[in-house]
Amino acid sequence: MLNQPARSLGVHIILIAYSALALGPILLVVMNSFKARNAIFGAPLAPPNATTFSLVGYAKVFKASLIGTYFANSLIVTLVSMFLVLLFGAMAAWALTEYKFRGSTALALFLSIGIMVPIRLGSVAILKMMRAAGLNDTLTALILVYVAQGLPMSIFILSEFVQQIPKDLRDAARCDGVPETRIFFEVIAPLLRPAIATVAVFTIVPIWNDLWFPLILTSSDSTHTITLGVQQFLGQYITDWNSVLAALSMAILPVVAIYVIFSRQLISGLTAGAVK
């Protein structure tokens, strides 16, 4: 058996190598997006310096695409969906755990179908429905679909969190005469805050990153989300490396920034209950 320092050195070498593999491609893209074209090809691995630095790609992206609109659309769709998924999901999770009534188990099972069965498979009918309702090519359509898609998983996760809230709190509130609706909104809901991170990883991140529904439900440039907008832009300017790298970086950087800010919560949310 290896001695302690040698073995832990080996572990660190493996983990550093894998981290480099995970981070490398992202760094490469972001780094080169700040370089002039001949530097991108001449020395791809070199960071930008005074002579190679260039923002020409970014200028092009802003000029040739509605990147600001895409970004705003994604933000609206994701935030509204997130709010509704959390609100409706927490309400349903609370009702299903707290009030047992005839059919509540059946209802819980019905809601859990959506955890495993992807909503995408209903796309044909969703598109028909949205067209019939006149919601085609609107952000509302996306939000409705994403809320439906996110609810089952969020109800499942939030139920786990609801069960961890001591039952005595609810009893104390009842002794205090707090009405049932207020018990949820003023006692239970505030305590579900730690669940937001877990719900975000499993339902919100996929919404931000989704390509499929924007592709089939939105047709005009002004309703594209960032993922679809960038995808279309990339297809169009495929030979313009400066623009392509800049567009990629602009899609990557906000996500990375938010991720780095919230990574502690996100990861403890993922490993919920097991944080050491």
């Binding site: 009842r174 205090d176 005469g177 505030p190």
Partner: protein, 357 residues
């Protein structure tokens, strides 16, 4: 202020009967302690008084008012939980006033009540703190304060001190006794701790497997337990039991003999020759050496020295162990054979069904 009357309460979870025909009357201002082994239904009974769980059948009256159909807040009760159940996202002041918002108490009145409760419980400096920044004892005081501001007719406590360390338990116990004197409210208190029960209670209710075994003043339960269960449950270390049989009856004297008993003299009752009995003697009533109405002999196996007293574990003739409390420094050595005896007034006799004679 109000008394509490419980009439033929039953509670079943599916086939499991958790409470069976509970009857209990508590007078206004009384402090009643519920004790019993784990799982006997103490919390269940308390929660039904509170209105948190519904009885399967039976009636509950609070101050002559039938409260079966009333929600907890309408019953004029307040409950203090073992886990404190403080709202973690509200500061102490908010914890106390939160419930008052919904029962139509004016803001100025709320403030007055909080100030008064805080003064009573010495919480004035903690009003702006969150529960996570309080010690266990402080949290418990806040939980009690939250009950006080509701000005309830009946206080319900479910093992309120069991999460505190020994020293805090004693001081908070004294605090609760003081509050009871001060407020004069009816209190129902569940505990596992015998000392709490004995010191706080006006009356103790001993429960076992969903039934009430005995209700009585603390010393009543100690000196005249109604049956074997109460005799064994109240007192620590527990009472020693000896099987016996009536040997002869001479006037009002009964002689009973069992494998472990040399001689016992009892006032005669409805006993006949050959009746089976159980004799009970508390460890603290056994004396080594001295002659008495009851005596038994055994070999000392182990002596636990606690300082103010020692417990001798003695192997009896029927191979069971009994415990004798020995005062003073002179303790028998392990291996030594010793005769222990007790006077007749400290000997408890139970019939075959376990009832006190």
């Amino acid at each position: 202020m109000a008394g509490l009357h419980i009439d033929k309460i039953n509670k079943s979870y599916g086939p499991a009967r958790v409470l069976a025909d509970i009857d209990l009357s508590i007078v206004d201002g009384e402090f009643v302690v519920l004790v019993g082994p784990s799982g006997c239904g103490k919390s269940t009974l308390l929660r039904m008084i509170a209105g948190l769980d519904a009885p399967t059948s039976g009636d509950i009256f609070i101050g002559n008012r039938l409260v079966n159909a009333l929600a907890p807040a309408e019953r004029k009760i307040a409950m203090v939980f073992q886990s404190y159940a403080l709202y973690p996202h509200m500061d102490v002041r908010k914890n106390m006033t939160f419930g008052l918002k919904f029962t139509g108490v004016e803001p100025s009145e709320r403030e007055r009540r909080v100030a008064e409760a805080a003064r009573m419980l010495r919480l004035e400096d903690l009003l702006g703190r969150y529960p996570r920044d309080l010690s266990g004892g402080q949290r418990q005081r806040v939980a009690i304060g939250r009950a006080i501001v509701r000005e309830p007719d009946v206080f319900l406590f479910d093992e309120p001190l069991s999460n505190l360390d020994a020293a805090l338990r004693v001081s908070t116990r004294v605090e609760i006794a003081r509050l009871h004197r001060l407020l004069g409210a009816t209190m129902v208190y569940v505990t596992h701790d015998q000392i709490e029960a004995m010191t706080l209670a006006d009356r103790i209710v001993v429960m076992n497997q969903g039934q009430i075994e005995q209700v009585g003043k603390p010393l009543e339960l100690y000196y005249t337990p109604a049956n074997l269960f109460v005799a064994g449950f109240i007192g620590s270390p527990a009472m020693n039991f000896f099987p016996a049989e009536v040997e002869s009856i001479e006037g009002d004297k009964v002689r009973a003999k069992g494998p472990t008993i040399a001689r016992v003299t009892l006032p005669a009752g409805s006993l006949t020759r050959g009746s089976k009995l159980t004799i009970g003697v508390r460890p603290e009533h056994l004396t080594a050496g001295a002659p008495g109405d009851f005596s038994t002999t055994g070999a000392v196996e182990l002596v636990e020295r606690l300082g103010e007293a020692s417990y001798a574990h003695v192997r009896r003739a029927d191979d069971k162990l009994m415990v004798a409390e020995i005062r003073g420094r002179d303790t028998p050595a392990p291996g030594q054979t010793v005769t222990f005896s007790a006077p007749a007034e400290d000997v408890h006799v139970f019939d075959e069904a376990g009832r006190r004679l």
